[in-house]
């Protein structure tokens, strides 16, 4: 039995992680705080990942996302080293050895060529990268705004809360596609603009309300009061205590935002309203312009792009749903 001894006089009286040494004295473990935090984060990630793995639906989604990410990542390499840039460039390439375009799938063009003689597989891969960048950028903007605004309006309440909630009501009720159709017809909207617009509309809309209601339940927890008693200012409490606890939910909403951003971009490019180089929606628009839309004997013109949009959107949505079960314990299996 080790005898419990008081620490030697002169040691600072602040709470420290310690253990009893062989002589019974307190040994202070010299581990920096960030290491402990990181370890805790890793441990919670592991346990959450285990719950995530229990759901095959989330795994299907994750597998599809990884497959598409691989496609997006390998495209620049292929274009540099394997494919001839003049033939396989997704926007300006043309295969002059084939007399009639769109040509069916062959050994050179695994998914055939489009009406302008460009390789469909190359376009598909380029479009994958575009979809990822757009989706993640828009989702990032959405989540940053929604989390900050949600935390602020839950913490302060009053006029800020009323303003942002009424704004969210307004945005929820606005049919965004109709609005974006008008905007993109009247203004020149490029890739980044679109991502920011979608992010803004999403971030100030529905996501804020849900994140705010979560922030309200966090605001009344005892550790927030403890932080206030310890002398923490408003900014400190919001950014160090409330927002970190909102992050799991924000991450969940990121998945749903990616889905809606990709779908929106595809619809707008399908109508030919966007000013972008190449995307999945634009591939279908090109097909439509060339008049092959209902000709399913030329399936490679519309199926790869349509299927890719659907699959990637569904994959992010499925991962979001699986994360929902991680974040919300009431949905888990008994």
């Amino acid at each position: 039995m080790a005898e419990i001894t008081r620490p030697k006089p002169g040691t600072p009286l602040r709470p420290q992680l310690g253990r009893l040494g062989p002589q019974g004295e307190v040994q202070v473990i010299e581990t920096p705080l960030w290491k402990i935090r990181l370890r805790l984060l890793w441990r919670s990630f592991q346990s959450n990942f285990k719950i995530f793995l229990e759901n095959p639906i989330g795994l299907i989604g994750l597998a599809i996302i990884l497959l598409f990410a691989f496609m997006a990542a390998i495209h620049p390499y292929l274009l540099e080293n394997v494919w001839n840039r003049n033939v396989y460039d997704p926007v300006i390439g043309i295969d002059q050895t084939i007399t009639f375009h769109p040509a069916p799938p062959s050994a050179q063009h695994l998914l055939g060529t489009d009406p302008l003689g460009r390789d469909v597989l190359s376009q598909l891969m380029f479009g994958t990268r575009a979809a990822f960048i757009l989706g993640i950028l828009a989702a990032f903007v959405t989540v940053t705004i929604a989390t900050t605004v949600g935390a602020l309006s839950a913490y302060y309440g009053g006029a800020i809360d009323t303003f942002f909630m009424r704004l969210a009501d307004l945005i929820i009720m606005t049919p965004i596609i109709s609005l974006l159709i008008v905007m993109s017809a009247l203004f020149e909207i490029g890739f980044t603009h679109l991502a920011v617009i979608i992010g803004l509309l999403g971030g100030l809309g529905g996501a804020t309300i849900i994140i705010k209601s979560q922030a309200l339940t966090i605001k009344v927890r005892s550790y927030i009061e403890a932080a206030r008693v310890a002398g923490g200012g408003n900014a400190h409490i919001i950014f160090n205590h409330i927002i970190p606890n909102l992050l799991p939910l924000s991450f969940l909403y990121m998945m749903f935002s990616v889905t809606s951003a990709i779908a929106l971009e595809a619809v707008l490019s399908f109508f030919g309203l966007l000013n972008i180089r190449m995307s999945w929606g634009l591939m279908i628009f090109t097909t439509q312009r060339a008049g092959y839309l209902l000709d399913l004997s030329k399936w490679w013109l519309i199926f790869p792009a349509g299927l890719a949009i659907t699959m990637l959107c569904a994959a992010f949505y499925l991962v979001g749903r699986a994360l929902d079960e991680v974040v919300n314990p009431r949905l888990r299996k008994r």
Partner: protein, 383 residues
């Protein structure tokens, strides 16, 4: 309840006003204005163009123009559509709005009822292969790229099977010597369907009070009478052929929109049911020895309905947006197609008119969902 209603309506009017400001400022912020259309016309000197700008009021500040436009709009004057010249915007809206409302209402009601039923069963039979298959199919349909899906539907049902027409509102061959206007028939169609559904609701709420032995025969006979009366009316009116043609064209867009929308409700109902099933009163109902079906339908599902109704508020915009795409794919000449066509040719008055209409539709649906919510949940009593 009355005060709640009053406050909600006042709030909605305010929101609608904000929406108008947003739409006007957005459209106004576009580069150039109407006088730029004549920029390439050498017969128009710069001085004349200035006069044109002045006479159109384009030289005034935005606020002044907005107030003027608002005053005109309040008197029912939304201007004249450029692309449908010389028809006023309101005239175009009056012609096309019923088609969109019909599509929107039918698809919403169908997708919510199917989604709720499917979600209820899905939560009850948790964990089987059926659940995974349905969830994946549901998510696939919910996130499907709608233009592509619409094309596949057209290809399958119209092109390959030949069951339905490829888009459009009516078949010109059938209507060549028609003694009636298509819109008259359509409005009458909407009216009779509306009356029939009111009768159905009345019948079902009446028969709920009867004892269980009488309930089924009363419902069967009542439904039979309503359906026969509906068909008899159309057969006797001499317009049956035309009404059938419109319905024939309407079927595929509604089917597409319903398929895409029902999954959202289904997945939400499932989640909501899973939460409800953990409540103590479900345990109590089981302990009482009630049959499974009664627990599911009367104890769990009714309480699980609340978040689903709330979600309707979020879904209104989603369904409306889906309507725009569906109308475009099926060339259904409603407000969505009108909006897209007007936006592409920069027919500004028509664009504003279409957006205003969409805003009104969204707000009305929102208000109805709010009232329904207060009506369904006895814990919420807005005073």
């Amino acid at each position: 309840m009355r005060r709640f209603l009053f406050r909600r309506i006042a709030q909605n009017i305010f929101t609608f006003f904000l929406f108008l400001v947003l739409v006007y400022v957005l459209v106004d912020a576009q580069p150039g204005d109407f006088s730029n259309v004549y920029l390439n016309d050498p017969r128009l000197s710069p001085k004349q163009r200035t006069i044109l700008r002045e006479s159109l009021g384009l030289d005034k500040p935005v606020m002044e123009r907005f107030v003027q436009w608002l005053g005109n709009a309040a008197q029912g004057d939304l201007g004249i559509s450029f692309s449908n010249y010389p028809r006023p915007v309101l005239d175009v809206i009056a012609e096309r709005a019923p088609r969109t409302i019909m599509l929107f209402l039918t698809a919403t009601i169908l997708s919510y009822s199917i989604g709720f039923l499917a979600g209820k069963i899905l939560a009850w039979r948790r964990g089987g292969f059926l659940e995974y298959a349905t969830t994946v199919t549901g998510v696939g349909l919910y996130t499907v790229f709608l233009p592509w899906f619409g094309l596949l539907m057209i290809w399958l049902f119209s092109f390959t099977l030949g069951l339905f027409p490829i888009g459009k509102f009516v078949d010109p061959i059938v209507w060549r010597r028609a003694p009636v206007e298509a819109n008259d028939v359509f409005l009458r169609l909407m009216l009779t369907i509306f009356l029939a559904s009111i009768l159905f609701i009345a019948l079902f709420s009446y028969s709920r009070r009867l004892n269980p032995g009488q309930r089924t025969p009363v419902r069967l006979v009542g439904s039979g009478i309503i359906i026969v009366a509906w068909f008899a009316y159309w057969a006797s009116s001499g317009m049956g052929k035309y009404a059938a043609d419109i319905l024939h064209h309407l079927f595929l867009p509604i089917l597409t929109l319903t398929l895409v929308n029902f999954a959202g409700t289904m997945l939400l109902t499932r989640n909501s049911m899973l939460e409800t099933l953990r409540e103590d009163y479900i345990m109590a109902a089981r302990a009482k020895g009630l049959p499974d079906q009664v627990i599911r339908d009367k104890h769990a599902a009714r309480n699980a309905l609340l978040p689903v109704v709330t979600s309707f508020v979020l879904a209104v915009a989603f369904v409306l947006d889906g309507g725009v795409i569906t109308e475009t794919i099926f060339s259904w000449p409603g407000m969505g197609l009108t909006l897209l066509e007007a936006a592409v040719v920069q027919d500004i008055p028509m664009v504003i008119g279409a957006l205003v209409f969409t805003g009104i539709l969204a707000l009305t649906a929102h208000l109805i969902a709010d009232i329904l919510y207060a009506f369904l949940d006895p814990r919420i009593r807005y005073t």
